[in-house]
Symmetry: C2
């Protein structure tokens, strides 16, 4: 893949924050809730919400809302499409790294 | 390095276009002129100019203006600082990739 192709490839994950969110979700064996993501990535609520909405709209994550101890709790997992998109994106970055290392 | 550190690390190269420009410059053994970069990365003149200015201001590239056959020609190379910044940035991305692969 050329660097031109890398630039032409339009991915939601070329945003660094969304890349980190997807990396966190796919690395976790369990669903992750909003506050854990906030803490792990040190983001503001508004910033994280906006990214999660974009990822949900693009069907890269699955959102589940449940009540635990009568309190609502929203958790997130990477969707199959999301895991695939992340893998594709990282493969592309890997190609860039190899070009530089040559 | 944690994903939090990855997000906190502020780099001009977290922009994908600038990453591709720096990858092109460091992979080349010779200085590259503006039109070659334009072609190789398929960017518009305005877009490329603006990125080159930011990279120059941050001293990540060195710009040289010469006359060849009486025509002005501007060429670019990655500076030592630029090559280092690229290497650092790619190491960080590599860490993210390894986290996901675990």
């Amino acid at each position: 893949m050329s660097l031109k192709d890398f630039l032409a490839f339009d991915s939601l994950l070329s945003d660094r924050t969304r890349l980190a969110i997807m990396a966190t979700l796919t690395s976790s064996e369990e669903p992750i809730d909003f506050n854990t993501l906030l803490e792990q990535l040190d983001l503001t609520k508004g910033n994280l919400s906006s990214h999660m909405r974009k990822l949900e709209d693009a069907k890269l994550i699955k959102v589940s809302k449940r009540f635990i101890d009568r309190k609502p709790k929203t958790t997130y997992v990477a969707s199959t499409r999301g895991s695939l998109e992340l893998k594709n994106y990282l493969t592309q970055i890997q190609n860039v790294i190899e070009k530089v290392d040559e």
